[in-house]
Structure formats: structure tokens, C-alpha cells
């Protein structure tokens, strides 16, 4: 993970280094005409040093938790982003919950009755769920549930501890939008994994002992089908993080994804660097958690 993190840091640094516009000019704005002030600021920011020195200096500060200062608001990037992390986690967890609840339940029903009407509908819905662009789905849901029916607010965010009821009502649509793609993928993968396990001899044995379908699925089949399902869930974290950028922007939710999108438009590259690093770290941690989950689910898997 360390070499990957190092390459990620190089890419994040290198990619944003080529952003159009000189950061010193961006900070100074109209005062950029003064050559002395401009050169002094470039020196303060370390922009007059060779690229590798700039990178090493930046990396040294990043590992100490210092992501620099926002060009737009002059606030500490770490402070700004850390305040947004809980918001993204709240939305991301809700999205994952929607994905798991919908995906797993339909997968179980479909696998138990392959070829049935429920299975066919589930398959078609899953294919649609993979293909539907989240921004269009968001517009459809907002139009129906916020504009026509007026059941939920069209956008915005309220922290859970400020007003739990309003917070949850505001969370429903973004969570559905964020979780749909994951639900569809979990549904497809879960169905085929479960169907494969349900054909095994020990399932026949469990059934011949007179165990009820619920017991067979919950105690014998699901745990053994979980390895491919957990792999998909791990991969879905990346898609959730990516989806958060667009969902947070559409629903005006002040999370890390929206900070990244806003930073692009304001050319606030320290914030963009920080947001990209945090989002990528989230994906890498999810991959690590997936590996740990394998060992828990299948004791035969051991990591040295």
C-alpha cells in the first residue's frame, strides 16, 4: 500500500501542478502587477524551487497533516476538509446502506427463484441501475418527489444532531442516487454467487435435514457466497466516493466531493489536492478493509 500511496501522492502533486494559471497570481489577484510582491510570494510558496524540492516539501507537510492553505478563503485546507469528512461519511454510509439493503435482498430472492418473475424484474432493474446516469436519476427523483409531490426538500443538508427528522428527509434522495449503482452491481454479483453456492452438496444436505429456506440461506449459503460479494462491495466504495462528487454537487451537500468540484472551478489547487488525496485514501482503506474481511469470512485465507 505504501508504494501505491507514494505514486498517488506524486500523481496528485504532478497533476495539479499543471493546472492553468500561476497560484501566486491567483492569490494576489489584482495586485499581481507588483513584481516584488509577486516574486516574494512565489518564494514564500516555494514556487521558485525545483519541482522535486517542491514535491518533497509538500509531501513532508502532508504526512504531518498540513495540506496547505486555501487560495480562495485563506483557511487551512486540513481544517476545511476535516469539517467536510463527517458529511461525506454520513452520505456515503447511507448510500452503502441503500446499496446493501436493496442489492442483497433482491439477490437472495432472485437466487432462490431463478427464472421467476421477481428474478426477471430484478435482472432488468439491475441492468438499468448500472446504466442510469446518477445526475439524471437525481433530476428524475427531485422532479417527482420534491417538485411534484413535495414530500422532501429538493436539495440542501442538515446535520443529524441539529434536526434528525429533517436531516433524514434531506438524505433520502441523495442516498438513493448514490446507492443505486452499488445496489445494481451487488444484486448481479450476489445473485450469481448465491446461485453457485446453492448448487453445492452441503446445501442439499442442509435441506435434507429439514432446515427451512431462511436458515439454509442465512447460515449456510450467504456466508460462503460473501467472498465475491465483499469484493464487489469493496470495489463499490470507489464508485461511492466518485459518485459523491456529483451527488454532493447536485444536492448542494457540503462534503469532500463537492469541495473538489468547487476547487476546480475556483482553481483552488491546494483544496483540490487535499480533497483528491482524502478521497483516494478512502478508496485504499476500503480495499484494505476488503482484504481483512476476506480473512474473517474465510479462515483458510491467511496474510503473511
Amino acid at each position: 500500500m505504501v508504494p501505491v500511496l507514494l505514486i498517488v501522492s506524486m500523481l496528485a502533486f504532478g497533476l495539479l501542478y499543471v493546472l492553468p494559471g500561476d497560484p501566486a497570481v491567483a492569490i494576489l489577484g489584482e495586485n499581481a502587477g507588483n513584481q516584488q510582491t509577486y516574486l516574494a510570494l512565489r518564494h514564500d510558496l516555494g514556487l521558485d524551487q525545483p519541482l522535486y524540492m517542491q514535491y518533497l516539501g509538500w509531501l513532508g507537510r502532508v504526512v504531518q497533516g498540513d495540506l496547505g492553505q486555501s487560495i480562495r478563503t485563506h483557511e487551512s485546507v486540513s481544517t476545511v476538509l476535516m469539517a467536510r469528512v463527517p458529511v461525506s461519511l454520513y452520505l456515503g454510509s447511507a448510500g452503502l446502506l441503500v446499496g446493501l439493503a436493496l442489492g442483497l435482498s433482491v439477490a437472495v430472492i432472485s437466487a432462490l427463484r431463478p427464472g421467476s418473475r421477481v428474478d426477471s424484474v430484478g435482472t432488468v432493474v439491475a441492468m438499468g441501475g448500472v446504466a442510469i446516469p446518477s445526475f439524471w436519476q437525481a433530476l428524475l427523483l427531485v422532479y417527482v418527489f420534491a417538485v411534484l409531490l413535495r414530500w422532501v426538500p429538493p436539495s440542501g443538508f442538515t446535520p443529524f444532531f441539529v434536526d434528525p427528522s429533517l436531516s433524514l428527509r434531506m438524505l433520502i434522495l441523495p442516498a438513493i442516487v448514490l446507492g443505486t449503482h452499488s445496489a445494481a452491481v451487488i444484486m448481479r454479483q450476489g445473485r450469481s454467487a448465491l446461485m453457485e453456492v446453492l448448487e453445492q452438496d452441503y446445501i442439499t444436505t442442509a435441506r435434507s435435514k429439514g432446515l427451512a429456506d431462511r436458515s439454509v440461506v442465512a447460515r449456510h449459503a450467504l456466508k460462503n457466497a460473501m467472498i465475491p460479494i465483499v469484493t464487489v462491495i469493496g470495489l463499490q466504495i470507489g464508485s461511492l466516493v466518485s459518485g459523491a462528487a456529483i451527488t454532493e454537487t447536485i444536492f448542494a451537500i457540503p462534503g469532500v466531493g463537492r469541495a473538489a468540484v468547487d476547487a476546480i472551478f475556483f482553481r483552488d489547487y491546494p483544496v483540490l489536492q487535499g480533497a483528491v488525496l482524502i478521497l483516494t485514501l478512502a478508496v485504499l482503506l476500503a480495499n484494505l478493509a476488503t482484504d481483512v474481511a476476506y480473512a474473517y469470512l474465510d479462515p483458510r485465507i491467511k496474510y503473511r
Binding site: 501505491v4 500523481l11 446504466a131 446516469p133 439524471w136 428524475l140 417538485v147 464508485s239 456529483i246 478521497l279
Partner: protein
């Protein structure tokens, strides 16, 4: 799967029947057939847009601002009186263009990297795969957004960004396939005959790893179209007045309460096109996968 050596002795007749067999297997799944039909319609729209569109996509009618669907404008008009249907027909050009070029970039770079990593192994494999891991760790859309923002918003830069994001998947797949093919006897035979690594990769390995890459490329086409639409929706992709489905959706989101048809029609176009490519990709996977083929025979 045929390999380079066996093609020397193949005759045209079995090849034709082989192709028909493949097409039959592809069309066995009704969804793949539906996908092919929808894809063909989208390609036709892109090629014959000036003949099919009832209006010029940029013609503004100030007497018909945000007009609902009617006989004159089947899908209504947008905020500055342009015909939505005509813009959707012309928008298919941008989507297909970006999708095709992005996939071409991903295949050109990804296949080269995957072939080298898989065939050479050792240090080259380690270095290439660690870079691939790192790029894959970036959330796709955020990376595409950052690249497009860095290079400046335009169609060409959207293609580069989307192609770059799709590269790691193709590289990983090609490497995996190359690892198994390089152990085959015909590769050893070519090596013994004195073929250079470049010739072996190009003539002997590449023809034998194409099938899964074609499937992946079809699925990537759908992803590329959605990503282009997302970039344009966020304002960093295709710039106005060029008709683009994502940009139309962006306008639609601003007029959702008074003119919902603007966003609905363009969103449906993206959805159906992506769905079609996914259906075709799934159909290809089934037609090319020997395991699924034998299951079908049973």
C-alpha cells in the same frame, strides 16, 4: 479461440460459418439484440444528423422559449428556443466521438502497458502495475474532472481524460491474459524460431487476448459516454453551443420546475445509449465465454 499459427491453415468457409455461429450466439440473448438495434440507431443519428434533425441544432426561436412538446417541436424547445430533438440527434455525435476516441486511447495505452507488463514480467511488471494500482485508486470521476480542469475544458481534453481513466482496467485485463498466453507452446515455438519480443507480442499474443478486451471496450464505451455527460453536466466538458447530452441535462436541471422536458429527453438519450452498450457488452461476453457456451449447450 484461434491463435496466430492456426490462422495459416484456416480456410474461408469454416471462418464464415464461425462468424455466423458467433453472431447467432450473440443474438441468442434478446437483450444483446435490443442493444445492437439501439446502438445502430444512435450511430445512424450521428452519421445522418443533418438529414434526420428537423431543425438546425443552434437555431434560436425567441417566440418559442421553453415550449412544451408539440407537433412543431416533438420534444419541446430549450431555454433559448432551440429544438430539443434536433439537439439530441446532433448530441449523439459528441457522445459517440468522445466514447470512441476515449476507448481508443484506453486500448492503445492499456494494451501496450498490459502486454509489456505481462510478457516481460519482473521489474517492468512491478513498476507498471504499481502505477496502474495508483491510478485505479483515484475515484474515476474526480480524476477525469481534475485532468479536464488541468488541460482546459474541451472535447479533445475530455477524450484524453476519459481515456486515461479507462486505461488501468484495460492494462490489468491485458496483463492477466498475456500471463496465461505467454506460457502456451506456440509462443515458445515462436521464441525458438528467433522472433523478437515485439513480434511475439504483436503477432502471437495480441490476437489471442483480443476477445475479453473487445468485451471490456464495449462496456467502457458506455462508461465513457456517461463520464463525458457528467463532465459536460458539471461544465468542464463540451462547451456551448455544441450540442451535448450532458450540457443539455445541465440546462434541464436549471429549468426543472418550468421545463422538465429539456432534462428528461437528454437524460433518456444517455441512459438508453449506455444501456445498449452494456447489453451488447454482456452479450459479447456470453458469446465469447466458453464456460457460458458449454452451459448453454447443456
Amino acid at each position: 479461440m484461434t491463435h496466430a499459427v492456426s490462422t495459416w491453415v484456416s480456410t474461408p468457409t469454416p471462418r464464415v460459418s464461425h462468424h455466423f455461429g458467433f453472431l447467432r450466439r450473440l443474438l441468442e440473448t434478446r437483450l444483446a439484440g435490443a442493444g445492437l438495434v439501439i446502438s445502430a440507431i444512435v450511430v445512424l443519428c450521428a452519421l445522418a444528423a443533418p438529414l434526420l434533425a428537423p431543425y438546425d441544432p443552434n437555431e434560436q426561436d425567441y417566440l418559442a422559449l421553453r415550449d412544451p412538446p408539440s407537433a412543431a417541436h416533438v420534444l419541446g424547445t430549450d431555454d433559448i428556443g432551440r429544438d430539443v430533438l434536433s439537439r439530441i440527434i446532433f448530441g449523439s455525435r459528441v457522445s459517440l466521438e468522445v466514447g470512441l476516441f476515449a476507448v481508443a486511447i484506453a486500448i492503445a495505452v492499456g494494451v501496450s502497458l498490459g502486454l509489456v507488463a505481462g510478457y516481460a514480467g519482473g521489474l517492468a511488471d512491478d513498476v507498471i502495475m504499481r502505477i496502474v494500482d495508483a491510478v485505479q485508486a483515484f475515484p474515476n470521476l474526480v480524476l477525469a474532472l481534475a485532468i479536464t480542469a488541468a488541460l482546459g475544458p474541451s472535447i479533445a481534453n475530455a477524450m484524453i481524460a476519459i481515456g486515461f481513466v479507462g486505461t488501468p482496467g484495460i492494462a490489468r485485463l491485458t496483463r492477466g491474459q498475456t500471463l496465461s498466453v505467454r506460457e502456451r507452446e506456440f509462443v515458445a515455438a515462436a521464441r525458438v524460431c528467433g522472433a523478437t519480443p515485439l513480434v511475439i507480442m504483436r503477432l502471437h499474443i495480441w490476437p489471442n487476448v483480443t476477445a475479453p478486451i473487445v468485451v471490456q471496450a464495449t462496456l467502457l464505451m458506455g462508461t465513457a459516454i456517461v463520464t463525458e455527460a457528467a463532465l459536460s453536466f458539471l461544465g468542464v466538458g463540451v462547451q456551448p453551443p455544441t450540442p451535448s447530452w450532458g450540457a443539455m441535462l445541465r440546462t434541464g436541471s436549471q429549468y426543472l420546475e418550468v421545463a422538465p422536458w429539456i432534462g428528461m429527453a437528454s437524460g433518456a438519450a444517455i441512459f438508453l445509449t449506455v444501456l445498449a452498450f452494456n447489453f451488447v457488452g454482456d452479450g459479447l461476453r456470453r458469446a465469447l465465454d466458453p464456460r457460458l457456451a458449454s452451459r448453454r449447450r447443456q
